[in-house]
Every structure is written in C-alpha cells, then in structure tokens.
C-alpha cells in the first residue's frame, strides 16, 4: 500500500458501532496507515475507503457527521478516548492508542457515530434564541451595545450547538428532562443584546418551566468540556440571579417586564 509506505506506522482504532436507532452497540477494531498531521476524521475517511477490520474481515463503512472541518459547525462531535470533542480538531498525534471512538450517547444514536441533536435545536426554539426584528414595517436601528459588553457577549456567541457540554453534563440524559448548558447560555447571550433584551422576560420564563434552569446540578463539567471555552457556568449562575428576580416579579404581578 502506497499510503502506508510513508512511515509504515499503523494507527489502532476501536469504534463503537450501531446499525440502527435503538439497536445494540458493538465494538470493531481497525488499523489505519498513519499520515503526518492526521485528525480523527481522516482516520474515519481511510476506513470509509477500505472498510476492513484488523482481523481482515470486511465490514460496512462507519457513519459519522461532519461539515466545516474547522471546529465552527459543531457537527462532528463524538466521544474520543472517553472525552466528548470535535473529531476535526482532534489530532491523532495527541491521542493514546488505541483511539476509541463512541457516539455521544446522551443523544439518540442514529447510526454508528451519528447522533440526533434535535433536542438542542428544539431547546433553542423554546428559549427564543434569536433577536426579534420581524415586523410589518421597518423598525429602524436598534439601540447601541457598549463595546465592553459586546466583547464578552462575543464569547457566548461562539457556541456551535455541538452537544459536547450536553454529553459531559451528568444531568442531561434521555431519562432526565434538563434543557442543558448550551441553550441556557444562549438565553444570557440574547438577553444581553439590546434588541434581544426586549423579550427578556419571555426567555427567562421559558427556562423557568419543567426541565429548565433549576435542574442544573453544578457539576461544572460543561465549562470544563466546552471546546470554545464558553463560560457556561457563569452564564448559568447569572441566569440564576435573573430568574430569582423574575420569580418575584411573576409572583407579585410586577409590570416591570423587561427592565
């Protein structure tokens, strides 16, 4: 094989396969010729080209999700050697072998390493993670945002809905209804935006329902796992304060909805 001629080194990979949604998982072992600067995705591409296991048996190609290949889209997250992370930005040189790949099982597994992250997108809809500007007439310019605020809000806006924080969180699972860290942090982001803040109370009330903000158990795994370094636990604590105030406003029927 000419690719292997490079170094002759083979990368040992173990993958948790699953054929159908809800089906049983099973491990398969592969050996892939090493190339300089390889990432996990290039290993998976080699297997796709030549789906043969280490024992010489032929198998089906491994299914996985990917898109941007530069850690901004969030599609290629999987559990690599026990840690949820992006397979595009995880380099083989930084991993111990055998490299063990598993799907993020906190989500429903569609096939092999593909998971269904719908839960997160539905959560973003639930908390209205957008700036409402649609109207029947031109609303004109919105209020200005202070530069200092914009700078830290930018950090929150780096969230790519990759699901790593959800996988890391001990309170997010199919048996629990917790909305999870990523959508919560988006509430803080859009409540910070001067135009977004115009429906601040709606977002706070959305996370004060079942499976909302209060289901956070403060394990702080999310902030440790986030590939973009988003201060998720700070967002959660800040929302805790905002909802404390909102709770009293709701209870006493305050007309101070958004200030």
């Amino acid at each position: 094989m000419d690719i292997a001629a490079n170094t002759g080194r083979m990368v040992k990979v173990e993958i948790l396969r699953q054929d159908t949604q809800g089906g049983n998982g099973y491990w398969q072992k592969f050996e892939v010729p090493y190339r300089h600067g390889m990432n996990v995705i290039s290993v998976l591409m080699e297997i796709q080209k030549n789906p043969v296991m280490s024992n010489g048996e032929k198998t089906t190609p491994v299914a996985w999700d990917m898109n941007c290949l530069e850690e901004v889209c969030g599609a290629c997250s999987m559990v690599i050697n026990g840690r949820p992370r992006q397979s595009c930005s995880t380099l083989i040189d930084q991993l111990t072998e055998p490299v063990r790949l598993e799907p993020m099982k906190t989500f429903p597994v569609i096939r092999d390493l593909q998971v269904d992250r719908d839960r997160m997108f539905n959560a973003l809809k639930k908390v209205k993670a957008w700036v409402p500007i649609d109207g029947t007439y031109d609303l004109g310019e919105g209020p200005r945002m202070p530069e200092g605020k914009r700078q830290w809000a930018y950090e929150l806006s780096k969230c790519m809905t990759c699901g790593v924080c959800m996988e890391a969180c001990p309170n997010v699972s199919e048996k629990a209804s917790f909305i999870g860290p990523a959508p919560l942090s988006q509430v803080r982001l859009f409540n910070t935006h001067p135009t977004g803040a115009m429906i601040k109370d709606e977002r706070l009330n959305a996370i004060m329902g079942d499976g909302g903000l209060a289901n956070c158990g403060n394990s702080q795994n999310c902030v440790a796992a986030c590939p973009k370094g988003i201060p998720l636990t700070t967002s959660i604590a800040s929302l805790n304060r905002a909802t404390t105030v909102q709770m009293f406003r709701n209870f006493f029927g305050s007309d101070h909805f958004v200030d």
Partner: protein, 204 residues
C-alpha cells in the same frame, strides 16, 4: 408534580436545605457539642428543651424539622436518581462534589430515618432522652462508626449544599466568587465536622 412547577420545587428544595434544615443541623450539632463538657453539662443543655410546652415543641418539630426535611429528602432522592454520575470520565473537583452530594444525600435519608427511630421515636414510646441514651447506642462500635459516617455525610452535604445554594440563587456568579465560596464552605465543613465528631466521641 403539576406542569411547569419544577423550577419552584427545585428552588424550594435548595432553600429548605439551608433554611431551616441546615440551620437545624448547626443547632443540633452545637447542642451535642455540650457533651464534650461532660454528662452533666449535656443533660443540662438538652434539658432546656424540656422547658417548652409539649404541644409547642411538637409544632416546632413538625414545622421546622419534619416537613421541610421530608420534602428535602424525598425530592432529593428523585434528583439524585435522575443524575448519571460520570466522575470516571470527568474527574474534576466539582464533578466529584456533585456525585458526593447525591451519594451522601441518599445515605443521609437512611441514616436520619434510623437516627429518628433510635432517638425521637423511642422518646415517644417512653424512653428518656439523656446522655445515657446516646452512650448506650454508641457503646456498639458498629453504631459508633455508622454515626460518625452519618455526621460527616451531614456536614459535607450541608457545606457543599450551601455552596450550591449560593450558585442556585445567583449570589456567587463569577468563577472567582465561586472559588471563594468553596474555601468558605470548606471551612464550615471542617468546623461542623470537628464539632460533630468530638460530640459523638464524648459519649464513648
């Protein structure tokens, strides 16, 4: 549970853990600590409780202790069993605290149920609460061990719960504030633990 009430139940759970349950624990351990001063000092201190009219004492016990404690315990068991501990994959300090909080919580439900049976229910059945009652209990080395683990679980659960309370109500927000709260609550853990263990050893 009715729809969309979970937020309120969770906040209530957090609040009741500190007020009144946490305050009661601090009071309880302080009262026990008088045993370090000897049998007489302990009997005198606990005897003060006898000065309350019985009906008032019962009312206080239900309102300040049993009802909040039962809600905190049973809702807490529900919270503990909906979690999926993953300290194997994420062995950070906070994740260990998360798991230990749930583990000690479930253990405390068992310990406190036993403790109430052994003391309060025996009192209701006619036993006299005094130094000798506890001395008899901890004369059994297994019981002494069980009580020490129970006391340490309670002091841990309270001090770590206090840390979580500060986050859950939005009092400590920044990582720095939460770090300071970690130090402060750890000091509280040490103080309450020393008091609690010194007290139980005073009965041996």
């Amino acid at each position: 549970m009715s729809k969309d009430r979970e937020f309120l139940w969770r906040r209530l759970h957090s609040l009741l853990g500190v007020i009144p349950v946490g305050l009661f624990l601090a009071f309880h351990l302080s009262l026990n600590f008088t045993a370090v001063g000897g049998e007489e000092a302990y009997n005198e201190a606990t005897g003060v409780m006898e000065l309350f009219p019985h009906s008032l004492l019962l009312l206080m016990e239900w309102v300040i202790i049993y009802i909040p404690l039962m809600f905190h315990a049973f809702y807490g068991v529900f919270i503990a069993f909906t979690a999926t501990p993953n300290t194997g994959r994420f062995s950070t300090y906070r994740n260990w605290m998360f798991s230990l909080q749930r583990f000690t919580g479930v253990f405390l439900v068992i310990f406190i149920a036993w403790h109430i049976f052994q003391t309060r229910i025996q009192k209701a059945l006619g036993a006299h609460v005094e130094y000798d009652m506890m001395a008899d209990i901890v004369a059994n080395p297994f019981m002494l061990g069980f009580y020490i683990v129970g006391i340490l679980s309670a002091t841990f659960h309270l001090s770590n719960g206090l840390w979580a309370f500060l986050v859950s109500w939005g009092i400590t927000q920044s990582p720095q504030a939460q770090k300071v709260a970690t130090y402060v609550t750890n000091i509280i853990f040490v103080i309450l633990s020393v008091m609690g263990v010194a007290a139980i050893l005073a009965f041996v």
